[in-house]
Amino acid sequence: MAQRTAVIGVGQTYHKAKREDVSIAGLVREAAVRALEDAQMDWSDIDAVVIGKAPDMFEGVVMPELYLAPALGAVGKPMIRVHTAGSVGGSTALVAAHLVSSGTHERVLTVAFEKQSDSDAMWALSIPQPFSAPLLAGAGGYFAPIIRAYMRRSGAPDHIGILVAVKDRKQALKNPYAHLHIEDISFEMVRDSIMLWDPVRYLETCPSSDGAAAMVLASESVADSASASYPPAWIHGMAMRSEPTMFAGRDQVNPRAARECAADVYDQAGITEPRREIDVAEVYVPFSWYEPMWLESLGFAAEGEGWKLTDSGATALDGGDIPWNCSGGVLSTNPIGASGMLRFLEAAMQVRGQAGDHQVETVRRALGQAYGGGSQFFAMWVLGADKP
């Protein structure tokens, strides 16, 4: 049987387009030190370190965990480096969680980061390959046709994406760590922003950020006796699923891997009605239209109905019954390797009641989700205030 596992410390950096005040090690330490302080622990308390990031081309450091081991208190300890594309921050947290739930370790530090300003994110994500078709569309051009397919399929009106973009940026104003703080964000501002990959507008896309996230995960006995600043957030369910990038008949709008990952994590957590039983969700939405799409794949709405939830304001921190991305989400902060972990971490903050101005009142259960690749890698967890 899996051992009970909890988050007992979280930390993140102040995210910016360019964190020119720190080295790579300085960036990851900023998040890790905050997580240790939150857990009221020291480097020496940690049994193992699990680190994740997206491709090594971002920083031009191959397997940077080797260089970062002494920066993260890992000397003499086990250290693992995870890489599962955009979902990596989430998968990294899950690999770390399994080190505890399997009974291997009691206290695991997990860290995810990206220092995108060391190079250029667009370049690093799609380095031209010999024999392949010339680069046509850039990062957003991969997802824009899928978004168009969703619009066609669901009949969603054009303004839904704009609503999400405004909502998440407004929520980011309540999160001091968020990269984008657009004080005067408005429907008109998003609507009138340049159409980059029609139907996706500039302000409907995520920024490129430098940043890191870290958590301390602990066994039941450690969590019970922890002197951390906030109560533990217990893992009620966790799952990963992958499917191929492309294959004949693949549903790219609502991938089966996403649905099955959600079904697995809900089954573990005993959730049958996600909208009613989950109080808050942090979901990987790098393009605004992914909110209605993931509302459907995560079972918060029936197929084709996700946009109606968004349209009704149900997903807003202010007045919604199922607030999504109170932190401002990926649309406001996107250090790619860390973005998934930020979702998992923000879910923990909500459960522990430490989210400050973007805290949802009385959170018993929260969902964290990350995805990556061509909507093919999924990682999710459900956290709860009570022991599972």
Partner: protein, 381 residues
């Protein structure tokens, strides 16, 4: 019931199938997926399973080695990840992917896992790719190649008076001789150590024979838990413990002549008694690992000597009967192959107990030790 803080299992898990490509200097025709695919087919055929029987899939590879970001994504095509799979990837040698799979198998919800790794070292400037593993501010800008760093370690060993160039040549000569019995090995030969000492220096004190070859290849292992392992395999190679540890990256803050993390990992894997974090100062040790066979991932000949001492291996232990990394050194692959080779000695009944070691980083920075046996370690079920 968990063995907290250590690498000893609660639930018995075993290697039940192992496959590898013929390791070669250069795969002329096939790309990574095409090298990997037949290996995946082979590892399943050996025990009559398919990808649909796998509870978990975990792989190891390196984007810079392939020359493309997200290179592991296409590799998944060689498996056929449909219906969707519980799957993960480490940017590490496949041995660490196996560690991840092994920890997940400690929980009862899955019984099987596929682990694989691949790498074609021939297509890149391998030395320069490995240089990029170094501190990007202080070390990488000097472009030291991995041979140079291993040579610094070798010199430190010579200066310590423990070993000399003749010992390095002896390791290489034995590895090449043993590799003649390994159909997948790349470098074989029957030259004596004396003859090998006629090789030129590449970076002194390392001569050509003390270096690993550049290798293209892929490998895969299937793990199974408890009764499932017994059903699938006549003699499963039970993992009785596994642990890995990393050292500081600052070469100038390490004693390069010893491998304390290898010893620490062997303690964690249950191969040596506990006895404090500070133990394992190398040299002759009273506490030696007692196994029939050890497969050590020592890309450079002097490193085998360091590892032997760290583990306290006596003369009775057969070391690297496969020829080791000096006979074939697929980057990202060679560590997982060590586990596969060690497990094979159990599965083919030439050994009752075995140790496999994998390393990563400059000068044996990170070390993994996997303990294997014909019987599970007093496990339940």
């Amino acid at each position: 019931m968990a063995a907290a803080g250590g690498g000893r299992p609660v639930r018995p898990v075993a290697v039940v199938s192992f496959a590898q490509s013929k390791m070669m200097r250069r795969e002329e025709l096939r790309n990574d997926v095409e090298v990997l695919q037949p290996v995946i087919v082979d590892v399943f055929e050996k025990i009559g399973l398919s990808k649909d029987d796998m509870g978990f899939v975990c792989s190891g590879s390196c984007d810079y080695l392939v020359g493309a970001p997200f290179s592991f994504v296409q590799a998944l095509d060689a498996v056929g990840a449909w219906p969707p799979m519980r799957e993960s990837h480490v940017e590490m040698d496949g041995a660490f992917a196996l560690y991840e799979a092994w920890t997940q198998l400690q929980e009862d919800d899955i019984d099987t896992a596929l682990v694989f790794s691949f790498g074609r070292s021939s297509i890149s400037e391998l030395g320069r790719v490995l240089t990029l593993q170094l501190d990007p501010y202080y070390m990488a800008p000097l472009w030291p190649d991995p041979v140079a760093l291993a040579a610094l370690q070798a010199r430190a060993l010579i200066d310590a008076g423990t070993y000399g160039e003749a010992d390095f040549a002896e390791v290489a000569a034995r590895s090449r001789r043993d590799a003649r019995n390994n159909p997948n090995a790349q470098v074989t030969g029957d030259k004596t150590a004396q003859e090998l000492l006629g090789d030129d220096y590449v970076v002194a004190p390392l001569r050509r024979h003390a270096l690993p070859p550049i290798t293209d290849g892929a490998t895969a292992i299937i793990l199974a838990a408890g009764d499932r392992a017994r059903d699938l395999c006549e003699r499963p190679a039970w993992i009785t413990g596994m642990d890995h540890r990393i050292e500081t990256h600052a070469l100038g803050a390490r004693d390069l002549t010893i491998s304390p993390t290898t010893r620490r990992a062997a303690v964690g894997a249950g191969l040596l008694p506990g006895g404090g974090e500070g133990s394992g100062t190398g040299g002759v040790s009273d506490d030696g690992v007692s196994v029939d066979v050890a497969e050590l991932h020592a890309p450079f000949a002097p490193q085998e000597l360091i590892l032997r001492d760290a583990l306290g291996l006596g003369d009775a232990v057969v070391v690297n009967p496969s020829g080791g990394a000096l006979a074939a050194n697929g980057v990202m692959v060679a560590g997982l192959v060590r586990i596969g080779e060690a497990a094979s000695r159990i599965m083919d009944a030439t050994a009752q107990t075995a140790l496999a070691h994998a390393t990563s980083g400059p000068c044996l920075q990170q070390n993994l030790v996997c303990a294997l046996a014909a019987e599970p370690a007093g496990g339940r079920r």
